[in-house]
Symmetry: C2
Subunit: 128 residues, 2 copies
């Protein structure tokens, strides 16, 4: 290692600090990529639309607050430190009574509303 190389030359991604960079809801921000997958963080509050992703599973990890994901046959409620993988092709509708902060993991290019178009449809590939 040369004298120029910092021992901390690689930078950690701090989730809390990333959330300080934006306040808008329903607009996922990309914070990292792994192969062709993206890690996105988002603030959600209120009701999303029913949708599914025909070609991929989708992972939700709640970091703060509480998220309910409704399915046609039930629901799951996720608190901070809890996660769930929605299988591909399964219709689901996220809902948060109060703002929830979460991380989404899914392949690059997946639309947040699946093949539905809505006011909730967000632009992809916004990095912070």
């Amino acid at each position: 290692m040369s004298n120029d190389a910092s021992p901390q030359s690689h930078r950690a991604i701090n989730l809390s600090k990333k959330f300080e960079l934006f306040s808008e809801q329903w607009q996922p921000k990309v914070i990292a990529e792994m192969n062709d997958y993206q890690f996105k963080i988002a603030r959600l509050e209120g009701d999303f639309i029913w949708h599914d992703h025909k070609d991929t599973d989708e992972t939700f990890i709640v970091l703060e607050g509480e998220l309910r994901i409704d399915f046609r046959d039930g629901a799951v409620t996720l608190k901070a430190g809890e996660m769930y993988v929605v299988p591909k092709g399964i219709e689901h509708k996220p809902f948060a009574e109060k703002e929830v902060k979460l991380m989404l993991i899914e392949p690059r290019g997946v639309a947040n509303t699946g093949h539905e178009s809505s006011q909730r449809t967000a632009q992809n590939d916004i990095w912070i």
Copy 2:
């Protein structure tokens, strides 16, 4: 929905509770899959070996404690709530002075020691 369907018929994966199910170190446990990727949790303490993964990136998310990942040209230190994606082909060596609890995300079938064989080589696909 029939009367038999529980409104919480889908089960959240609680990371803290999953850690209560094992105490051994350096033995990642699978807690979820997303397409052909696995979410694994592990307890690490001490030094790992230098290794790389020729074909895939590897994601580290620290849940409790502190993890240092050494690279040939530096290092990154991850605290709880921080993550890092090690690019494919990059040699790295995890180290934890005290036990760290973390989540790993990578494709199913990736060996924890890459193409190196060591006492640290763990069995894959152990679900909890």
